[in-house]
Symmetry: C2
Subunit: 204 residues, 2 copies
């Protein structure tokens, strides 16, 4: 195994969490570098795109979360070998990014503007997008997004669903997945009860 150092913020979620989960599931040793605010400000100028996560692999820095998640997926056996199944795994990860980009602009808004924008997302674009993710999951059999087994795509969607249901996103109803895409909530619950994932969160 290569020498790995994954740098990301110190909370259970976000763009760096799927890679952390995959490495834990596969029992792959890595330096789990948890970055706090002051350190982030110091690190930022050295980061390829000014943001986290970054993965150092045998001394080479890789940026961009989806690139990192795929690399870690390949290292841990959580990425399909098959060309088309790999693309379906990628498709779901990109769809998760789209959801994050839908929410992105609202983070820098004043609270009244944020409330309006997020309520519009919850009734419109985000709701529809979760419906699209659900439909793709249903087309693949309803349990996994690709390869009929757990892949890095499932971890990525799990982290998104967990985020939306967590209550940390003001003005986004926590029951949005339940109402708009109940199959995504079932998927979330199934991933959460994976023995390695349950043990990981129980231990922290």
């Amino acid at each position: 195994m290569p020498k790995l150092k994954l740098s990301y913020f110190d909370f259970h979620g976000g763009r760096g969490e799927p890679a952390r989960l995959a490495l834990h599931i596969a029992d792959v040793a890595f330096e789990d570098h948890r970055v706090r605010g002051p350190e982030f400000r110091e690190l930022k100028p050295e980061l390829p795109y000014g943001s986290l996560p970054v993965l150092e692999i045998d001394g080479i820095i890789v940026a961009q979360s989806t690139a990192i998640n795929r690399l870690v997926g390949r290292l841990t056996g959580l990425y399909p070998d098959d060309l088309v199944q790999g693309a379906l795994c990628d498709e779901a990860m990109e769809a998760v990014e789209d959801a994050r980009h839908l929410l992105g602009p609202s983070f820098s808004m004043r609270d009244d503007e944020k409330k309006a924008a997020r309520e519009a997302l919850a009734d419109g674009a985000l709701r529809n997008h979760l419906g699209c993710l659900q439909a793709r999951l249903a087309q693949r059999g309803g349990k996994y997004f690709a390869d009929q087994r757990l892949t890095i795509a499932d971890l990525s969607v799990f982290v998104l669903t967990r985020y939306i249901t967590s209550g940390t996103l003001d003005h986004i109803p926590t029951d949005l997945p339940e109402r708009a895409a109940p199959l995504l909530l079932e998927h979330h619950d199934a991933v959460k009860s994976h023995p390695k994932i349950a043990a990981y969160y129980a231990s922290r």
Copy 2:
């Protein structure tokens, strides 16, 4: 080779263009489905995420442009075999997506608001982002984003640089790459003069 149908809008650019270029470079036969406005409105309800491009491969639909570009890159030999070089190829493609997401919200703005938003991007976030892309290119030797050879990442960045310099983006100065990231412009010119790419655009 699998049976391929790539559906995307009928113009030289955008999220579907890198896959079209890759298929042409590798002389891989595919159905080049060019979608016009009225047909898009008909197709939209059937598209996995309501958007183009989509790739049909042996009857299976794959959505999300980066997923499609990677699949086509793997089919055409324009994606690295090496794990880390593959991740650096992915990183650049994701960075192109970030640039598109920076511009995204401005498309639905009124013209005065659009002008202010895009001028701010050209002096700020977009300018910085092009600088980051340039720095990554420089770190890899200045010619290619990964694997020291032409990959789908180079086609993806080429299409972005071409877009910004084309003049089709109101209020984004066409000389922004020249001023903010001259190495990206050199990279653009080198990709553009690739014999297969030059012949492709000359023929259309």
